[in-house]
Each structure stands twice: as structure tokens, then as C-alpha cells.
């Protein structure tokens, strides 16, 4: 009697103690992430159909292959792959024992129906070169190609090629990724409040992490809450005051302050995009290539990097991030700051300096419109650009639009100059922004050129090998540069800041972006 009472007591206290531990853990085991401004506003966790995906997507879905920061490809759900010498067939072997969150198996059939589901979607271009998919056996698939596609692995590693459960995808239809989602990733979608937050809960069955993570088993952290904070500076304050534990995409100008905080650590990764100023070639005075060239010389990239971004990041000299081989163009074509030469060119074009510091031609002042979108960090940069344009005698009037209206303005061809940016680490971005098929938006430069289109087609569809593709895109890139269609300004870094009292984050970060592979290694600090 006595003995059993004692045991009960002991057990009771153990339960109490465990309860305390558990609840303390439960609080600690949630890590809150602030999304970066560029990834706000995703409407669905649907890699196949959505045009906007955020970092949380990479935790819900795995990809066949992963790309590291050095552009090398690593196996993930595909353990290996082989391309035929003519480039017309790719064979992938798949990882065994992988299941989706809805407990259906991941296998060759799943891959087959997944690729097919891209037909008719915004992201169809990713699989456009694939003619058909054969199921060789349960864990082997073969992609039969229409043409060689050296960019296939890049596409497969992109966020838009996360693999959803075919069963759930068919069942949920347009609700997939909205009400619920199923992938094979280390975390499952628990709750998605659009525009507000996404809660992910750990997939305890997960044992198939890629070799980009230390941890290939279930994640260390129980739940991740991804918050969408529209105002970057609010997000910054949230990190400082402990409202979030990790902030993806810290605005560069906040870095010095965060660096001074003892409990905040910063990870800087190479950027995957540039900020630039497209020039509308159809809008006078920019139909004159001399004026365009002068404009490209008006922007002082180095001082912008130094003063606006505190020396973080790099000046942009052409349209591609410098880690891409296609960014190595003829040095003469790279854009550099040269206000004197800009002045000469403008004089040559007939725009002479007026008394009030604004150039004139036939009594008309050199006054132009400079657009930007309000939901981004560009308003600040735009004002500096405005001041620098003023220095060469160009009077630019800023209008700040919401992102939807500014797109309408582009489509209406109502713009002259704009400050914007993109985030893409592949040279096919040139096609996106300069193809004559997409005038207005995204071809904000409104550039339609026979030679350009020819070079574009060659680069996009006629490259048989990676080397050929590089050469073709470099040629296209150089031609684009020679036409002075835009002014490259800045290559930002990806800045990730976290609260080191709350969590530990892998160092160095692998992969081209801070996503699944890095989240796998995040731990709650003791």
C-alpha cells in the first residue's frame, strides 16, 4: 500500500515535470520567420500553378534536384540522372521509401502525372522542352525531350518544381495550396492565412533530406510560423524586439544597426537579382539611342552602393548577377558612370543645358517621368536616381504606384523611366524582360528588334549543351547591352538576420537561397 502510494506520487511528479518540460519546449519549439518583402502576397502553396511562391513552399515540397551556391546540382528525390549524348532523353532514378503528407507514395507515376499537370499553367515554360514522361519502373522515369534543354536541371531545382502529391492535387483542384497541401517536404502546411501568416508543422516521418543539410532526418524545430509583414521597417523592428526570430531579406540599410545588436546575427549570401532602371525606347526622348546611352552614364552605381547601401552588395554593370557566366560580357559594353560623357552625348543629341540646370531642345525641357512601385524598397533608390539624373540636366518627376497600377501603366505604354528589380539567378531572365512577345510588361523597355529576337530564339531553344547555351546567352546579353535599354544599378546581397539567443542557424549556409536545406539545420538555442 505504502509502496504503491509512493510510486504513484513519484510517477505523478514525473508527469508534472515532463509536462513542464513539454510546455516549455512547446513554446520554445516554435520559430517565427519574417518573410522578405519580395516574397509577400503568395496566394497559394501550389508550385505548379502559382506565379508567386514564398520560402515556406520549399519546406512543404521537395524537388528532384537541389542547386548549391556554386551552381552545382545535388540529388534529392532523384538519386541520380543521366542525359543521352544527343540531349533528347533524361533518365532519373528516384529515392525509395518517400511518402507524401497524405501518405501516398512518391514514385515514377507521381512524377509523370506531376509533369503533366503543368500543361496550361503560368509555369508551363519550365517543362516546355519535355515531350513526354515514361515510367520505366516504379523508381525510374525517363523524360523524352523535344529538343536539348541544358537548363533542365536548373528548372527542376527551382521552387516552382516542388512536387505535390498527385492524389491531393487532383482532389483539391484550385483549393490545392489554399485550404491544404501535400508534398513530401520536412514540414506540412497546417494553417495558411493569406497575407498574414503560414504555420508549418514538422513531418516526423521525414528521413530524406538532401546532402545540402547536415540534418537529413525530421527537422529540429517543431513548428515554423512564417509571417508576412508588409512594411520592411516594421519587420526590422519585429526582429529587434523579439517578435520574430529570423528575418529573410533584411533591407541593406538596416544592417549597420543590426550588426550593433549583441543578440542579432547576420548572414550575408550572394544576391540573386539586380535593381535596374528600364528605359522605354518608344517614348521620346528615349527613342534617341544617344539619350539612352547618356542616361546609362548618369547613374553612379558605386556611390549608390557606398551611400545608400552602406557598402553592402555590389554595383550592377549589366543585366545579370555576376555569378552567372553569361554576365562576363565584353568590358566595353558594361555600364559605367561617366557624367561628362553623358553631357557630351546629350549635347550631341541636341539637348543643351538651360539656365535652370535642365537641358532643353527646341524650347522643350528635358523633363521625364520616373515611375516606381510603392510596395518595394525602390522608392528610396528612386529618389537618389532622380537626384543623379538632375545632375546631367534631366528633370525626372517621380510617381509612386501600387504594383498593380504600375503594371497597367507599363501596358498602356505610359512610362518613360522606372526603377525596379528582379530576383532570378538564370540568364533566361533576358528572354523574360526583352522578348518582343512581352511588350509593356514584362518587357518594360518596349524593345522590339529583329536581331534581338533572333538571338533570343537561338539562346532559348537552339542550345544543345550548357556551354553552347552560355555562349548564346552571352551574345544575346551583349546585344541587349549595346542597345542601352536599361541602366543597371545595384546587385543586392541576400541578408538574413536572426536572433542568436533564440535559434542557431547553420554556417555557412548552403544552397543558392536560404530555404529548405538551411531550415533543416535551424535549432532552438538552449
Amino acid at each position: 500500500m505504502r509502496y504503491s502510494t509512493k510510486t504513484r506520487l513519484l510517477t505523478g511528479s514525473a508527469i508534472v515535470a515532463a509536462g513542464c518540460l513539454f510546455s516549455a519546449d512547446a513554446i520554445a519549439q516554435n520559430v517565427t520567420i519574417g518573410m522578405s518583402a519580395s516574397e509577400l502576397g503568395a496566394t497559394a502553396y501550389n508550385p505548379v500553378a502559382a506565379s508567386n511562391l514564398n520560402t515556406a513552399t520549399s519546406l512543404i515540397f521537395d524537388r528532384l534536384v537541389e542547386q548549391d551556391a556554386d551552381q552545382s546540382y545535388h540529388p534529392h528525390l532523384a538519386t541520380g540522372w543521366e542525359e543521352t549524348p544527343d540531349g533528347l532523353a533524361w533518365t532519373f532514378t528516384l529515392l525509395d521509401g518517400v511518402t507524401f503528407h497524405d501518405d501516398t507514395p512518391f514514385n515514377a507515376a507521381a512524377v509523370q502525372s506531376w509533369i503533366a499537370s503543368y500543361a496550361g499553367t503560368e509555369n508551363e515554360y519550365l517543362v516546355e522542352a519535355i515531350e513526354s514522361v515514361d515510367v520505366v519502373d516504379d523508381l525510374t522515369v525517363r523524360f523524352n525531350m523535344k529538343r536539348p534543354e541544358p537548363n533542365l536541371l536548373y528548372n527542376l531545382a527551382s521552387a516552382f518544381m516542388g512536387i505535390p502529391s498527385p492524389t491531393a492535387y487532383a482532389e483539391l483542384g484550385t483549393d490545392f495550396g489554399v485550404t491544404s497541401a501535400a508534398g513530401t517536404g520536412p514540414y506540412a502546411l497546417q494553417r495558411f492565412e493569406i497575407g498574414l501568416q503560414t504555420v508549418l508543422v514538422r513531418n516526423d516521418d521525414y528521413t530524406w533530406g538532401s546532402d545540402l543539410s547536415e540534418n537529413t532526418g525530421p527537422g529540429h524545430v517543431e513548428t515554423f510560423t512564417f509571417r508576412e509583414i508588409p512594411d520592411q521597417s516594421t519587420a526590422f523592428l519585429e526582429l529587434q524586439t523579439g517578435g520574430i526570430d529570423l528575418l529573410l531579406g533584411v533591407p541593406t540599410d538596416f544592417l549597420p544597426i543590426l550588426k550593433a545588436e549583441a543578440n542579432i546575427q547576420i548572414i550575408q549570401m550572394p544576391g540573386t537579382g539586380i535593381s535596374y532602371m528600364p528605359i522605354n525606347v518608344t517614348a521620346p526622348p528615349f527613342d534617341d539611342i544617344l539619350v539612352r546611352e547618356a542616361t546609362t552614364m548618369a547613374i553612379d552605381q558605386d556611390s549608390i552602393v557606398a551611400a545608400v547601401y552602406g557598402g553592402v552588395g555590389a554595383p550592377a554593370r549589366n543585366f545579370l548577377i555576376s555569378s552567372l557566366p553569361e554576365a562576363n560580357v565584353d568590358e566595353a559594353l558594361n555600364v559605367t558612370y561617366d557624367p561628362a560623357r553623358a553631357g557630351e552625348l546629350l549635347d550631341q543629341a541636341g539637348w543643351t543645358m538651360g539656365d535652370d540646370g535642365v537641358r532643353e531642345k527646341d524650347g522643350e525641357p528635358l523633363a521625364v517621368d520616373l515611375f516606381t512601385a510603392n510596395s518595394t524598397e525602390f522608392t528610396r533608390l528612386t529618389q537618389v536616381v532622380q537626384a543623379q539624373l538632375a545632375a546631367i540636366g534631366m528633370d525626372a518627376a517621380i510617381t509612386v504606384f501600387d504594383s498593380s497600377t504600375i503594371r497597367d501603366e507599363y501596358k498602356r505604354n505610359a512610362h518613360q523611366l522606372a526603377v525596379r528589380g528582379y530576383d532570378w539567378n538564370n540568364s533566361d531572365i533576358l528572354d523574360w524582360f526583352f522578348s518582343g512577345n512581352r511588350l509593356g510588361y514584362p518587357n518594360v523597355s518596349m524593345w522590339e528588334d529583329e536581331e534581338g529576337q533572333r538571338l533570343n530564339d537561338v539562346a532559348m531553344t537552339e542550345s544543345a549543351t550548357a556551354a553552347e547555351r552560355i555562349a548564346n546567352f552571352t551574345a544575346y546579353h551583349e546585344y541587349v547591352l549595346s542597345q542601352h535599354l536599361f541602366v543597371p544599378i545595384y546587385q543586392p546581397t541576400q541578408n538574413i538576420a536572426f536572433n542568436s539567443e533564440k535559434i542557431t542557424v547553420p554556417d555557412p549556409v548552403r544552397g543558392s537561397r536560404f530555404r529548405q536545406q538551411s531550415f533543416m539545420d535551424i535549432q532552438v538555442a538552449q
Binding site: T43, A44, E122, T174, D175, V178, E193, I194, G195, L196, Q197, R227, I229, P230, D231, T234, A235, L237, E238, Q240, T241, G242, G243, S375, D402, S403, S404, T405, R407, D408, K411, N437, R438, Y441, P442
Partner: protein
Amino acid sequence: MILRYTFFRMLMLIPVSFSISVVIFMIVYLLPGDPIDNLLRVGSSPEDRAKLVAQYGLDRNLVVQYFVWIGNMFQGEFGQAIVLRRPVADLVAQNLPYSLTLGGLAFLFSSTVGMTLGTISAIVRHPVLDRMMRAFILLGSTVPGFWLALLLILLFSVKLGWFPVSGAGGWQSLVLPVLTIGFGGVALVARVTRVALMDARREDFVTLLHAKGLSSGTILFRHLMPHALLPVVTILALRIGWILGGAVTVEFVFGRPGLGSLLIRALGQRDYPVVQACLLMLALAVMLGTLIGDIAQAAMDPRVREKKS
């Protein structure tokens, strides 16, 4: 009596709701830009466009569109958000609780605190207190809401670290938004209560109440308060819609979800069905507010009951 009044008052809502719905429907057509453009894949053909336009019924005659729309609204069918690609009802359902919580708390806060302060300042005639009260009322009705919000963040979040900077998690995140909206509300309600009480006090019948030998307390609570409440209730009722819609600034600064921020977002994206639904909800709140205010007035004031029914 009061039922009769309510019935007639509600009858009057029919033409008003009709004009509101027409105005809201028209606003959307005045908006520049086109949600279909947002939906279209880059490089789509005009045929793709026409298909989408037809899918959303935007190719029909405006009057037909209006009646289809209003018919759907009556069935609680808000339609599908074009850009956000989900049922508008879901979006409203997701955002409305946030609006109601914030609005409700701000409403409670401003009415209770405002009426208390107003009453105190009307009965305690202390020159210093009076001056402080007037200064507070002046500040409350003039300081821009967003600026107050920023200052509160600076003090309570950044310097003191008491409340979160933004978001909508837990009661802590409600404190500063409620204070921000409440501050103006408290000032307004306090001012109206104060003026109403002081006006009521000057009424002739109050002399007679004193002459009957009633105590000041009885007079205040049984006779003056009901009089003071008449204008206060009107103001409070009007504020229901005002708080819900006017919260947009506060929602913006604190990064909170809600009807206001949903509306702003949808305006930006030209998401017609969402804009219409949000405006309709807000208009509904405004109408409900005035309705409640009028009925409350009628319940409290026999003169109103008779004049209008």
C-alpha cells in the same frame, strides 16, 4: 411602439441599401486597370482574355451584371476573388474577426473610458482638471492616428518592449491598435458626454428636480445621464462603421489583417469582387450602426418614437 418604430425604420433602409449597392457596384467600374490583366499569363492571346472575361461575367451588360451581382449577394454568394483566387466569403471570414475584435475593443474602450472621463469632467469642476480634460480632448481629436501609432510603437515596443511591433497574435498585439483607435474615440465620446451633460444640467427641469429634494447623485444618474446618453449613443452608433473602416490606417501601421487592409489590398490589385464585398460589409456596418443608434434613441426618447413612426 418601439417595435413599430423599428419596423418603419427598417423599411427606410430598403431604398438606402439599394442606392448603396448601386454606388458600390459603380465604384468598381470607375477603378482604372483590369483584374483580368493580372490573371492573364504573359503573352496570352486576345482569345484567352475573352475567355477569362466571359468566365467572370465581365462581358455582360452593366445592368445585367448588377442584378446578377446583387442577386448573388442576397444569397450570401460573394463570388470568387479574381487575384487572390479563392472564395471572397473565405477572405471576408478570415479578415472580419480581426476587424470585429479590434473594432469591438476599441469601441468598448472609447465608450466606457470616454463616458467616464466626460462625466467626471462635467461634474467635477476643478480648473486644473478641466484644463487637462480640454487639452486631452483637443489632442485626441487632432493628432493623426498613424502618427500616434508610430509614437506608441516607439515608446511601448521599441523603448519599453512591452507590446509587439506588429501582427495579430494574442492580446498583446491588440493593446497598441486599440489605444490608437481608442484615443480619438475617447476624446470624442468624452467631449460629447461632457457637453451633453452640461447642456442637460442647464435644462429647466433640473431646477425642479432639485426642488423636489432629490440628491445630486439621483439627479445625475436617473435624469441627467439619460439625456446625456442621447447624443452619445448617436455618436457611438455612427462610430461603429467609422471604427471598422477607419481602422485601415491602424491596420496598415501595425500590419494587422482586417476588412480595411483587405480592401486596400484588393483596391491595389483591382480585385473587383473583394472590393465590392469589403465595401458592402462596411456599408452594412454603417447602416447597422445608424439603425441601432436610431432605435436606441427611440427607445430612450418618447418624443423621437412618436415623431417618426
